[in-house]
Structures are given as structure tokens and as C-alpha cells.
């Protein structure tokens, strides 16, 4: 009797496995899981896992397998991992990627292998313009978009002079370029800090002596916590007013807490964005992982939902079929039905957000206005597939 049960159990398992292997849809998800940026990767991993929970572990009806790889924020590691995902794991889609310099490092090898590459975060300008490729789709934004919103807001607010700080890499340059496109006041300083820098005291000393009316920063992840903390310790509020993009968010707010209350930033997503998909995402995220999701988590969730949508709508797992569905836009996301530009970057609203305390006393973000509606990037005109 015992043996019979065992035999049946083993056969069932084998059958279950073989049927699962037959058409498993594989996603190679690259993010940063170690080092100081590991918290960002963790949030993205949570977003992906939550999406799979909502789709019942399937993508477009196929059993789904997600292979998470840790790029360690190093371009050389990212290249090796991309190669492994393509050649050894034979994934259908490579997705994720936080950092623009890493995306620049891997995009050629993925897109030329005829595998769909979907960014959950990085949006470097070359990939939106003349170096664009039809196998690359962004489910986040082009780097300039968010800071263009902030530049426009500060221009409209009548701010006369600004001092800018961003890390010295592709995204930092894109952000400041985007900002300058709509801000026409005086640029007193344009400072590029080291990526991953933790002490900004020297920059703050220089900023104090320059006396700008406003300061604009792009400092993602832990860099923002350090910057805002040292900003407060040096009482910089008495010198200049701080505006930011990708700095005060779901990653840094648990650490910054009340020190960030009242600060203003722009973003294409917000935890209080009023649509059904986002409400469900935020509520389920909070109950599953505790704490608010950041935009990183939301975009990772959107990426998986976009893959699900592409496979389901096209009824195919072929790269070209999935791509042409995504290129049409109308993708269900936490930002509503997402429209796509000709370069396969989203056309979307840029919201103005303020840091507030919620009912439980946790710091979060609230939309206080829409700076730009259905906003596309400027590079799309240079993109010819």
C-alpha cells in the first residue's frame, strides 16, 4: 500500500513537472540585490513576486519562472549575467535594471539576440533616441521626463536661481539636461557627485557660499538619505529651498521620516494614484511586505503585468509578437492604461508630490498637482527602428 502511494505520488510529480517544463515562460530579472542599493532590488523583487501572485503564477496563461540575478551595480557583472540569462537559461524576456549605465552595458547583447528587453527603471537618453532598438521597451520613463516636470514647476513658480547636484553617470546627466529644458532661470552651480557618495559636506559648504534661491537634486536610493540628513544637519533650509527627483521616495522615507515632511518632488507614479490597479497593488504590497511600496516596486509590478498583457493579447511568446503589442500602448499598469511613444517609452503624466504623514504616522507621498499631461520624451524623433 505504502509503495503504491509512493509510486502514484512520484508519477504525479513527474507528470506535473513535465507539463510545467513544456511551455514555461522564463523571465530573467536583473536588479541590484547586494550592497547599499540592495534595498531597491528587494523592493523590485517584491513587486515582481506580487504581480505573479496576482496572475496566479502565470504570464499570459503560461506557467512562469522568474530568475532573479544580482548585478551588484557593476556594468561588467551585468554583462556576464545577461550573457548567462540568454545562453544558459534561455529566457524569453530580460527585464529589470535599475541603473542607466548598466542598461547601456547590456542592451546590445540582449536586443541583438532577438530577446525582448524591458526596463523597469533605467531610461537612458541614447536608448530613447538614435541608439533605440525595437526589442527594447521601457515600462518606467525616459530619464529626462521626471526632471523636466520639476524644471517646469520651478520655472512656473518663478524661481530665479538654482544649484544642481546629481551623480556622475548617464542618468545624472540626463536628469540635469531634462531639468534645464524647461527651467530658464540662472544656473548657479552644476555639480556631479560620485555615484554612491555618502558624505556631501564639501558640496554643501560650496553650495552655502553660492547662496542659490533653490537647490535641485537627483540622488537615488541611499545617497538621498545621506544628502537630506546632512542638508538638515547643516541647516541648509536657511540658505536655499530643496527640490528633488528620485531622492525622497519609498526607499528613503522610512529613514528620513519627519525630516522630509513638506518637501516637494515630481514622479510619474505615486502610492495615492487613484485607479483600481494601483489601489490593489499598494494595499496588497503593504499587507504582504509591510510599509509603502516605492516607485521601483510599482514599475517592477507594471513590467510583469505588461509581459502578461503582451503574451495574452498576442497569444504568442515570440519577441516580435510581444513587442508589437506593447508598442501599441494601452498597457494596464498602476499608472492607468499606459500609452507608448514611437520609441517604445511611455507617454505619461508627471505629478507633483508632497511628503505627508499618513493616519498611522508613516511618511508617504501625496499628489498635489499634475505638472505635465501625456508627456513624451524629446528623443523619440531621433529613433528609427
Amino acid at each position: 500500500m505504502k509503495h503504491t502511494i509512493m509510486a502514484v505520488a512520484v508519477t504525479t510529480l513527474m507528470l506535473a513537472n513535465s507539463s510545467a517544463f513544456a511551455d514555461t515562460f522564463k523571465v530573467g530579472y536583473m536588479t541590484t540585490l547586494s550592497g547599499s542599493a540592495g534595498i531597491i532590488g528587494k523592493q523590485m523583487q517584491n513587486g515582481v513576486n506580487l504581480a505573479l501572485k496576482h496572475t496566479g503564477g502565470k504570464l499570459g496563461g503560461h506557467d512562469a519562472e522568474v530568475i532573479f540575478v544580482d548585478d551588484q551595480r557593476k556594468p561588467d557583472v551585468a554583462k556576464q549575467l545577461a550573457n548567462r540569462l540568454i545562453k544558459r537559461d534561455k529566457v524569453n524576456v530580460v527585464a529589470g535594471i535599475i541603473w542607466s549605465n548598466l542598461l547601456m552595458a547590456i542592451h546590445k547583447q540582449v536586443t541583438r539576440s532577438d530577446i525582448l528587453l524591458i526596463s523597469s527603471n533605467a531610461g537612458p537618453s541614447p536608448l530613447a533616441g538614435d541608439k533605440c532598438h525595437k526589442n527594447f521597451v521601457s515600462m518606467s520613463w525616459q530619464n529626462d521626463q521626471t526632471s523636466e516636470g520639476m524644471g517646469k514647476y520651478m520655472q512656473d513658480a518663478g524661481i530665479k536661481s538654482v544649484y544642481m547636484l546629481a551623480p556622475n553617470y548617464q542618468a545624472g546627466k540626463d536628469m540635469l539636461t531634462g531639468f534645464k529644458r524647461h527651467f530658464k532661470g540662472e544656473i548657479i552651480g552644476e555639480v556631479y557627485t560620485k555615484l554612491g557618495q555618502s558624505d556631501f559636506q564639501a558640496e554643501l559648504s560650496a553650495l552655502r557660499s553660492a547662496k542659490p534661491e533653490a537647490t535641485f537634486i537627483f540622488q537615488p536610493g541611499g545617497m538621498a538619505v545621506n544628502f537630506v540628513k546632512q542638508w538638515n544637519q547643516s541647516n541648509m533650509d536657511s540658505v536655499s529651498k530643496l527640490y528633488s527627483v528620485f531622492a525622497v521616495d519609498g526607499i528613503s522615507l522610512p529613514a528620513l521620516k519627519e525630516t522630509a515632511i513638506g518637501t516637494i518632488n515630481t514622479q510619474t507614479w505615486s502610492p495615492d494614484l487613484d485607479n483600481d490597479m494601483n489601489k490593489k497593488f499598494v494595499a496588497d504590497y503593504k499587507s504582504a511586505y509591510g510599509g509603502y511600496p516605492s516607485f521601483y516596486a510599482a514599475q517592477a509590478y507594471d513590467t510583469m503585468m505588461a509581459i502578461d498583457h503582451a503574451v495574452r493579447t498576442s497569444g504568442s511568446t515570440k519577441t516580435e509578437a510581444m513587442r508589437s503589442v506593447l508598442a501599441k500602448g494601452n498597457i494596464p499598469t498602476t499608472r492607468g492604461l499606459l500609452a507608448m511613444n514611437t520609441n517604445q517609452f511611455p507617454v505619461q503624466n508627471v505629478y507633483l508630490r508632497e511628503v505627508i504623514l499618513d493616519k498611522e504616522g508613516n511618511a508617504t507621498l501625496k499628489i498635489i498637482g499634475t505638472v505635465m499631461e501625456n508627456h513624451g520624451d524629446v528623443y523619440a524623433k531621433d529613433c528609427k527602428f
Binding site: S36, G38, I39, D199, G222
Partner: protein
């Protein structure tokens, strides 16, 4: 560029230099005297920062947090030497590199399991979060001044310990000839354990001083490890005096280069070329400094005699 701004940046440079010295001092003793390649020294910085922040959150008192954290960093160094490091002295350098690199990963993961991957935020008590006017119109955070004083005081303390005390004589003798020192009745094993624990505590203190200034997160000590390796190479491996001078030099060159170099380049370059080259060159400055010093003094500024 005004003269007050330059002076303020000199203060910033010294402050980052003395913090670096606390990390480098222990490392130079471990590398120079014990002939051990120890890469997990950055983890000691992280342990110090987490211990101080953890105890501060637990007790609600910043000073009590520091007071409890110092013995803990000493104990962690002592235990690490007793459990793992003592087995590595007789191994070759490659094996030491592998083992201590493994320790970096181990400690980072341990912290992540214990405290989570998110950064901790440690606030200064109101008594330390004010400003002092070091120059007219130049308010400077009190805590950063305290960091400078603590760093200088510890530097003097280490100098006296190594150069003037019986313990220091044993340390120096152990470095020159460990077998002979052991034959003369000095417990060389305990001596090494003591040096290692003191080195760990110094790195821990650096972490405690960094905690209120920057974020406390897994892997926070690693950038400091690379800088302190530069420092001990410039200073001469095994020399505490060399480590101090090199640390302040590196702190100053890094800070001043970072702030003024892009502006200087803009004077004779186009804006976009300067924006590209300035930060890149600034981050290379300390390595250029190291290379230049090694050309003229291949064993560093103050190689220990003997």
C-alpha cells in the same frame, strides 16, 4: 572661491581624514605588524555603526549607545581573532584574501538578517546638532568638530601607546622578530589578539562617528576600506604616524579636488568638457597622489624601520 570657503573645505578635508585614519590605523598595524591581509576591516566600521545606532535606539540615549557599543566592537574583534583570524597567520596572502573577503560577505549578510536591508537612521541628540561659527558667516556642525577632536585625541593616544609604553615596545618587538619576542617570554598570541581587537575598536569608533553623519546600511564600510588601503600604502605599511599624515593628506586632496577641480577646469575648457572631465579627474586625484608618492618613495612616506 573665497578664502573662508577654502578654510571651510580644509576643515571638511581634515574631518574626513581623521575618520579615515581611525580605519587605517588598525589596518596598518594588522597588515604591517601581523603580516595579515585583512579585507573585512570595513565590516568592523559597519559593526561599530550598527552597535552604536542599535544601542541608541534601544536605550533612547546617544551617549549610552556609544558607551555600550565600544566594548562590543572590542569583543567582536577579540572573538573574530580567536575563532578565525588566528588560523590564518601561517597561510599565504591569497588564502588570507579569500578568507577575509568571505568574512565581508558573511558580516553584510548577518547585518541584513538582523536589521533588514533598509538603511537605519541615527539622529544626533540636540546637544550635538548645533553649529559653531568657526569663521564669520561660516556655521559649522558641532558634531563634525567633535569628530575632528576625537580623531586627533585617538591619534595622539595610539602614538603614545605604540611609541612610549611597554605594551608598545612589545608590539614593535613582535613586528621585528616574532620568534625572538616569544622566546623572551612575551605571549605573542595574546599580543596579536590585543592589536587586532584594538584595531577593530578603532574602526568601530570610526563607524560610530559616521553613523549620525551618513546612513547606517549593510556594506557601508567598504568604500572606506579601499580609501584606507590607499592611506596605508602612502603612509608606509605598518606605520601609525605615516597612516595619520597620509589619511589627512588623502582627506584634503579628495575634498578640495572634488570641489574646486571642476571649477578650475571650466576656466580653460568648455562647460560640457569640464563637466565630463572634472568629476572623473577629481575621483582619480588620490590615486594620482598615491602613484606620484610611490614613484619617489616606493615604500611609502614613513616606512617602519627594522
Amino acid at each position: 572661491m573665497t578664502i573662508t570657503l577654502l578654510l571651510e573645505q580644509v576643515f571638511n578635508g581634515i574631518q574626513s581624514g581623521v575618520t579615515l585614519f581611525l580605519v587605517a590605523a588598525g589596518l596598518t598595524l594588522i597588515l604591517g605588524i601581523m603580516d595579515l591581509v585583512f579585507l573585512a576591516h570595513g565590516a568592523q566600521v559597519m559593526i561599530g555603526a550598527y552597535a552604536a545606532t542599535g544601542f541608541t535606539l534601544l536605550t533612547g540615549n546617544f551617549y549610552l549607545g556609544i558607551f555600550l557599543a565600544i566594548p562590543l566592537t572590542f569583543a567582536s574583534g577579540y572573538l573574530l581573532e580567536y575563532l578565525i583570524i588566528k588560523h590564518l597567520y601561517k597561510r599565504d596572502h591569497m588564502e588570507q584574501v579569500l578568507a577575509t573577503f568571505g568574512l565581508i560577505l558573511f558580516f553584510n549578510e548577518l547585518i541584513r538578517i538582523g536589521f533588514g536591508p533598509a538603511a537605519l537612521f541615527s539622529n544626533l541628540p540636540p546637544s550635538l546638532s548645533g553649529f559653531v561659527y568657526i569663521l564669520p558667516e561660516t556655521p559649522y556642525p558641532v558634531f563634525r568638530l567633535i569628530v575632528i577632536f576625537i580623531g586627533l585625541a585617538l591619534a595622539i593616544g595610539i602614538y603614545i601607546l605604540v611609541a612610549k609604553t611597554r605594551m608598545g615596545a612589545m608590539v614593535r618587538a613582535g613586528a621585528a622578530n616574532p620568534d625572538m619576542t616569544a622566546a623572551l617570554g612575551v605571549n605573542i598570541h595574546m599580543l596579536r589578539r590585543f592589536i587586532f581587537s584594538v584595531g577593530a575598536s578603532l574602526a568601530g569608533v570610526a563607524g560610530m562617528m559616521l553613523a549620525p553623519l551618513t546612513v547606517v546600511e549593510p556594506g557601508m564600510g567598504e568604500p572606506l576600506l579601499i580609501l584606507s588601503l590607499v592611506v596605508i600604502i602612502i603612509g608606509g605599511i605598518g606605520s601609525v604616524r605615516g597612516a595619520f599624515i597620509a589619511a589627512v593628506l588623502v582627506g584634503l586632496v579628495d575634498t578640495i579636488g572634488r570641489v574646486f577641480l571642476p571649477d578650475m577646469l571650466r576656466a580653460f575648457m568648455s562647460q560640457s568638457a569640464a563637466d565630463g572631465a572634472g568629476p572623473a579627474l577629481a575621483s582619480m586625484m588620490i590615486y594620482i597622489l598615491m602613484a606620484v608618492i610611490l614613484v619617489f618613495k616606493p615604500t611609502g612616506l614613513f616606512p617602519p624601520k627594522g
